[in-house]
């Protein structure tokens, strides 16, 4: 019974996502908003991989998100104007960064780990900010845009066709999700859950905890950098803000808001947060207060997130 519900729920979600460009106009949305939601959801899911499933708090994911974005943009602008190559290089750069930083900080825990991830996020922020000639500094990297995708038999213009690009993003979103689900169901994923539940016991069982956490960190950041490349392509622009700690905080709140321990949680969180922010910032200058208030309310009253609450109600 429960499994059928879950499959049905999954099906409904995918159906909604597939048809989004068509029904969004009716409720005051626009295709680019949907694209942005997907990119943010992917980033939030990558944070959730580490946070919800491994139990490790990283508050600096924007760094790898940003590395992916810059890697992609710089490839298209300086090397080869090819979207797929840009994405590949962006992901490699972000993952490499995570591998190095992860090795440095893997033995830290808790609050200290969080602080250090924030601080390292700032390091990358500074590098992109100051390395003006290459990264464009505070002005960001302009004068490039997403290149049409050449499949050999057909060309897909994703620059002028917003709907086409939405589906491209949805495709990568689906691939990433499938990979994530696969990993979480594997023995590796189960080990991560064990570490989340009780790290000491996992260590006693002979599990190399630090190595698993490092791997989880790297995988999580790889997905974050994929999200980053898509973000850069979506905007045809990338700037240091993509690496700042307040963006990291936004990813975390989306994961928490939707429900940290559930797979779809971050998507729900991203939908609510992005739409809310888009709407509120159009209505009032004081939207920051609302967003801040929103954070506070979620933490105080909905710590399990939307899906967490629904689950609680379903299981007495």
């Amino acid at each position: 019974m429960v499994r059928l519900d879950k499959r049905a729920a999954d099906a409904i979600v995918w159906l909604l996502l597939l048809t989004a460009p068509f029904w969004m106009q009716w409720i005051g949305g626009y295709t680019e908003l949907g694209s942005r939601v997907l990119v943010m959801a992917l980033a939030a899911m990558s944070v959730n991989f580490l946070l919800g499933f491994t139990g490790v708090l990283s508050f600096g994911h924007a760094a790898y998100f940003g590395l992916g974005a810059y890697g992609c943009a710089m490839t298209i602008k300086y090397l080869v104007p090819s979207t797929p190559l840009g994405m590949v290089i962006g992901i490699i750069v972000g993952t490499a960064g995570a591998a190095i930083i992860g090795a440095l900080i893997v033995h830290l825990r808790g609050i200290y780990f969080a602080m250090v991830t924030i601080a390292f996020g700032q390091v990358f922020y500074f590098i992109t900010f100051r390395w003006n000639d290459v990264t464009g500094g505070d002005d960001g990297l302009t004068d490039w845009s997403r290149m049409p995708l050449d499949f050999g038999f057909a060309k897909l213009d994703i620059l002028h066709n917003a709907e086409a690009f939405y589906y491209v993003i949805l495709f990568f979103f689906a691939v990433a999700l499938a990979l994530m689900a696969l990993l979480l169901r594997s023995p590796f994923g189960r080990t991560l859950l064990a570490i989340r539940e009780n790290e000491r016991r996992a260590r006693f069982l002979g599990i190399p905890v630090d190595r698993h956490i490092w791997l989880s960190f790297v995988i999580s950041c790889a997905f974050a950098s994929l999200a980053g490349t898509l973000y850069a392509l979506l905007n045809n622009f990338v700037d240091p803000r993509a690496l700042r700690w307040d963006l990291s905080g936004t990813f975390v709140i989306m994961a928490v808001l939707g429900g940290m321990r559930s797979f779809w949680g971050p998507l729900v969180g991203a939908v609510i947060f992005v739409v809310l922010q888009d709407y509120v910032s159009s209505e009032t200058e004081n939207w920051e207060s609302f967003i801040g208030l929103f954070f506070v309310l979620i933490v105080l009253f909905f710590p399990r997130g939307v899906l967490g609450m629904i689950r609680r109600k379903a299981a007495p």
């Binding site: 900080i105 700032q122 390091v123 500074f126 905080g249 920051e288 801040g292 933490v299 710590p303």
Partner: protein
């Protein structure tokens, strides 16, 4: 060249003392309650704005005395109403809460006072340089260093000579036992938070004299405070003080040789410390 370096070292100590003041408040709260107070910069701004409001009535010295207490009072309320609920839970939640709080404070100050930079009146005689040669040693900056010294001394006295201080120190080491021994831990955390915010408010009053007073005044100071704590060592207040001074001097000296690396150097230092001595220079073993 040597004169330039020397000047920058002196200047760096002054700037570093200021970082230390900010970081000490943050450190106090972190050590006892395990809360990363992202809103610390916001409280700094509140301190500055309260002082701005009070100066026409009670002058600069009056504001200097009163504003940090008022800011601390606001801090006590915030702790009681919001943060207290989160102690038992994952540290993630207090992080997100203070994060949201920072947004609210920034927007709130902008709403009340506007985004425009506010002119801030400091007594004239403080604003003069002490000598033509050492022109960057203005009365105000020297005064600031002295005040930081007084604040640190005061903090030290509170922590070593008063019962509250003793309990805070004990609580930092083992809160459970302290509670079992009959200490009102709730009150302790509350007062500790207030003490930390007092320091933030004081930093705010001082900062507004040096910098322009606008809603974002606190946000640029939060990151150096983090680095100060990491470099100096978690759990150690002398470490925080040392960390602040170190990064202040490092920044200052770097300006002479590699001006573009002025802020980056503090992160490089942080990276080095994490590699070589992860608990920080004066940090305690096994803290995290």
């Amino acid at each position: 060249m040597t004169q330039l370096i020397l000047f920058n070292v002196f200047n760096g100590l002054i700037v570093g003392a200021f970082y230390a003041l900010m970081a000490l408040g943050l450190s106090l709260i972190l050590n006892l309650s395990g809360v990363i107070n992202f809103a610390h910069g916001g409280f700094l701004a509140i301190g500055g704005y309260i002082a701005y409001v009070l100066i026409p009535f009670i002058g600069f010295w009056g504001a200097l005395l009163v504003a940090p207490f008022l800011t601390a009072f606001i801090g006590l309320i915030v702790e009681r109403v919001l943060i207290r609920r989160l102690y038992g839970r994952d540290p993630l939640y207090s992080l997100l809460l203070t994060f949201g709080l920072a947004y609210i404070i920034e927007d709130g100050t902008r709403f009340i006072w506007g985004a425009q930079s506010m002119p801030y009146q400091v007594p004239d005689w403080l604003m003069q340089p002490l000598s033509v040669e050492y022109f960057f040693l203005t009365g105000y900056r020297v005064f600031m260093v002295l005040l930081v010294g007084v604040a640190v001394a005061g903090l030290f006295l509170i922590l070593t000579r008063t019962r509250l201080g003793m309990r805070i120190r004990a609580g930092t080491l083992d809160l459970e036992t302290v509670s079992v021994l009959g200490v009102n831990v709730r009150l302790l955390r509350n007062l500790n938070f207030g003490l930390g915010i007092y320091l933030a408010g004081l930093a705010g009053v001082l900062a507004a004299g040096m910098l322009g007073l606008q809603p974002v005044i606190g946000t640029s100071l939060i990151m150096p405070s983090f680095v100060t704590i990491i470099v100096g060592g978690l759990g150690s207040l002398p470490g925080t003080l040392l960390g602040g001074l170190l990064i202040g001097v490092a920044s200052g000296v770097t300006t002479v040789f590699f001006p573009s690396a002025t802020e980056a150097v503090i992160y490089v230092m942080m990276g080095l410390v994490l590699l070589v001595r992860p608990r920080g220079l004066l940090g305690e073993e096994g803290r995290f």
